[in-house]
């Protein structure tokens, strides 16, 4: 089984030394720890600016344009404002859980970036199980969200947190299955090697996998149309209803940092990460991250929100079977025709994805949901 050799054993055996980056020194860790925190904060500011201005444009209004040139300082102004606000803890809240929740939610989002390559080998740790680490760590944020929902002692928060847990548990499965498709094609779990292996971006080789991953990622990080954990028209703010001041700022940060993390992972897995002509690699990486994030903003401004049962239905009846089929097809292709040009798979896989989605949408309906009471 050549496939398993290349996928699992080889990276373990290989000592990964990035070719154009001096790794392994103590300042490498220091530099990247500081750099990642700075990167996440700056990217979040960029994301907030892009979302508010972009949404403003799409909704035929201006968006924030008073603070600094083109309103560029709006995220800073927001941050300062929110930091100066009073920190209110409701009397019914579980104080410790309420206090810990933003921290528990924020830490995992930050550590996701440890394995994301900004350039060839330019990452905090080139783990040979990088993508597995991402999947494992990213679901820990849910614990923080549930702590917030439970600890607030508010029914809106609890409903939002319940929805979040249900959504994350369900969407983890199609998401991981979509990742496995990529891992099979690239033959590695290391994020850097997945990028180096992408002579053709995997969005073309794995179109179905990309769509499933994108939808599941949107659901996992509460982006519209799956934002029903903080559905403003239903639950006012969902799990962070009872948060104010710095703690609210943390949740706000988590929301955008998660979106940026997922965009970065999609850019790495499917859009060939830092690879690209002419521009420096790290710039390519940032551009691709923002392109993915822009698509998320775009869907948010357009689509209505699904309901919780429809969300579950979409995960289990639509994405899950398609992810399984995608995995099966990819495995057959890699095992049976290991030496064939990937361009053939590009055409075949796009055709398969189109046919499968059309067929499945005939069988699958989001459905109604009245219960006799």
């Amino acid at each position: 089984m050549a496939i398993f050799d290349s996928a699992l054993i080889q990276p373990l055996a290989m000592q990964v030394t990035p070719p154009d980056w001096p790794g392994g020194y103590w300042w490498h860790w220091l530099f990247f720890t500081v750099a990642i925190i700075a990167f996440v904060l700056i990217m979040v500011m960029g994301a907030i600016y892009l979302e508010r201005r972009g949404m403003g444009r799409m909704q035929s209004r201006l968006g924030p344009n008073r603070t600094g040139p083109f309103g560029l300082l709006q995220p800073v102004a927001d941050a300062v404002k929110v930091l100066l606000k009073e920190n209110i803890v409701p009397t019914t809240a579980d104080k410790i859980v309420h206090w810990l929740a933003p921290v528990v939610a924020f830490a995992p989002v930050l550590v996701i970036f440890a394995v994301v390559p900004f350039q060839n080998g330019a990452m905090l740790a080139d783990l040979n199980i990088g993508i597995l680490y991402v999947v494992a760590v990213s679901s820990i944020a849910t614990v923080g969200v549930f702590m917030a929902g439970w600890g607030s002692g508010n029914k809106y928060s609890l409903l939002g947190a319940m929805r979040n847990v249900a959504a994350v548990v369900s969407y983890e499965i199609p998401m991981v299955l979509a990742i496995v498709g990529v891992v099979i094609v690239s033959g590695s779990l290391s994020m850097n090697q997945i990028v180096t292996g992408q002579d053709i971006p995997y969005i073309l080789v794995q179109p179905l996998g990309f769509l499933i991953f994108f939808i599941a990622a949107c659901a996992e990080i509460n982006r519209s149309p799956f934002d029903l954990m903080e559905a403003d028209s239903e639950l006012t703010a969902g799990f962070h209803t009872e948060y104010s001041g710095m703690k609210f700022a943390m949740f706000y940060l988590v929301e955008y940092a998660e979106a940026i993390a997922m965009s970065a992972i999609i850019a790495t897995l499917f859009l060939s990460g830092w690879r690209g002509p002419w521009l420096p690699p790290w710039l390519w990486f940032i551009i691709k991250t923002f392109v993915v994030f822009f698509v998320m903003v775009w869907t948010r401004t357009t689509l209505p929100r699904v309901r919780i049962d429809q969300l579950m239905g979409l995960a289990w009846k639509f994405l899950f079977p398609l992810a399984l089929i995608n995995l099966f097809v990819t495995a057959i292709q890699v095992v049976v025709w290991p030496d064939i040009s990937q361009w053939i798979f590009v055409i075949v896989n796009i055709a398969i994805a189109a046919v499968l989605i059309l067929l499945w949408s005939k069988f699958f309906k989001l459905g109604q949901g009245r219960v006799e009471v």
Partner: protein, 373 residues
């Protein structure tokens, strides 16, 4: 079902208070919802937070002096309120309105219907979770209509334009060309707007078949307007009991069969088209002449009573006025459209989820100023 529940987990319904301060209660409506998880078991509407005693205030004011207060009833469509009240007093005092004033009144009432349905449709889609985009689009068009109102009476929200026996002042010369432009613009806009989400899978899943209002229930509850017409009741006071000069115009009364949220959305869009048809006919026929009948400043209608009702954008709006031959009404009762349309809410939402409760409530289209008076 019960046995499975007993075997697995003991659950019990809990009470969730939606409102009076909540993004989707369209003001200060409050629902005490009993929820079983996400499912609505029962709701208990609570209102009165915006009660200002307008009916009682009428007894303290002259007949003309009450017109500004009618603006504050359904503040989304003040022109219709003005019209209904003035018609009631005219009926009581036997005043004949000049031809030109009748045309101006019809034009204003139909523009008001367009403005109201803009908000109704936009906020319903906003409640469905389409994050403010459809809402902003309709608000942009409403602004154009409000510009026209601004042109004729200098106000943008509480117009106070109609007078007993006519309107307060003649339309300016640039009004009719501007109206012509606006009608052309809105004709295109409605097409575009309908295409934005008409066949959107998520909207269909969220709105089609959701919150069905049976024809019989609708009649029994006295529901009128677009909500009743969406349930298949062909009832429009402009046709069934023609007032003003509506019998001179050609227009259809759009109805739907299912009575679900999607039908209420469609009926409103279709009514906007019909309003444009009426406007197109009316603006060509506006005659020359006075805009106000010769009525004294202090009207003393003969002792007696009168009821006048109009097809306001939200349904049947009626004013019942009792006169004792003094300068103020002895009693003024208002038939509030919004309050009576809310009567069937409880039957409509039972068994649906919280998210559906919000969209069903949004599809009824109420204004709290009219519910509480």
């Amino acid at each position: 079902m019960t046995t499975t529940r007993e075997l697995t987990l003991k659950t019990e319904p809990f009470v969730l208070n939606i409102g009076p301060v909540h993004p989707s209660t369209h003001g200060v409506y409050r629902m005490r919802c009993t929820l079983d998880g996400e499912v609505v078991v029962d709701i208990e509407p609570v209102f009165g937070y915006l009660h200002r005693g307008i009916e009682k205030l009428a007894e303290e004011r002259t007949y003309t002096g009450f017109i500004p207060l009618t603006d504050r009833l359904d503040y989304i469509s003040p022109m219709s309120n003005n019209l209904g009240y003035c018609m009631a007093v005219e009926k009581l005092a036997g005043i004949k309105v000049p031809e030109r004033a009748e045309y101006i009144r019809v034009i204003m009432a139909e523009l008001q219907r367009l403005a109201n349905h803009c908000i109704a449709v936009g906020s319903m889609l906003n409640d469905a979770g389409a994050y403010f985009t459809p809402f902003m689009y309709t608000f942009r068009e409403r602004e154009r209509i409000v510009d026209l109102f601004d042109m004729v009476c200098g106000q943008r929200l509480t117009y106070n334009y109609m007078r007993i026996g006519g309107v307060s002042q003649d339309i300016p010369g640039e009004f009719l060309p501007a109206l012509h432009k606006l009608v052309d613009r809105l004709t295109i806009f409605i097409e575009e707007y309908e295409n934005l989400l008409k066949l959107n899978e998520i909207l269909l899943a969220r709105a089609k078949g959701v919150g069905i209002l049976e024809k019989d229930t609708a009649i029994n509850c006295g529901i009128s307007g677009p909500v009743a017409r969406a349930s298949g009741i062909k009832w429009d006071i402009r046709r069934n009991d023609p007032y003003s000069i509506y019998d001179r115009f050609e227009f259809d009364i759009p109805t739907c069969e299912n009575g679900d949220c999607y039908d209420r959305y469609r009926v409103r869009i279709e009514e906007m088209r019909q309003s444009l048809r009426i406007l197109q006919q009316a603006m060509k026929q506006v005659p020359k002449g006075p805009v106000k009948a010769d009525v004294p400043h202090l009207i003393r209608p003969p002792a007696g009573e009168a009821y006048a009702h109009i097809e306001a954008p939200k349904g049947e709006l009626g004013y019942y006025i009792v006169s004792d031959n003094s300068i103020a009404p002895y009693r003024c009762h208002i038939r509030p459209t919004s309050l009576i349309n809310l009567a069937a809410l409880r039957q409509m939402v039972k068994g649906w989820k919280v998210a559906d409760l919000i969209i069903i409530f949004g599809s009824i289209d109420i204004t709290m100023g009219e519910v509480d008076r």
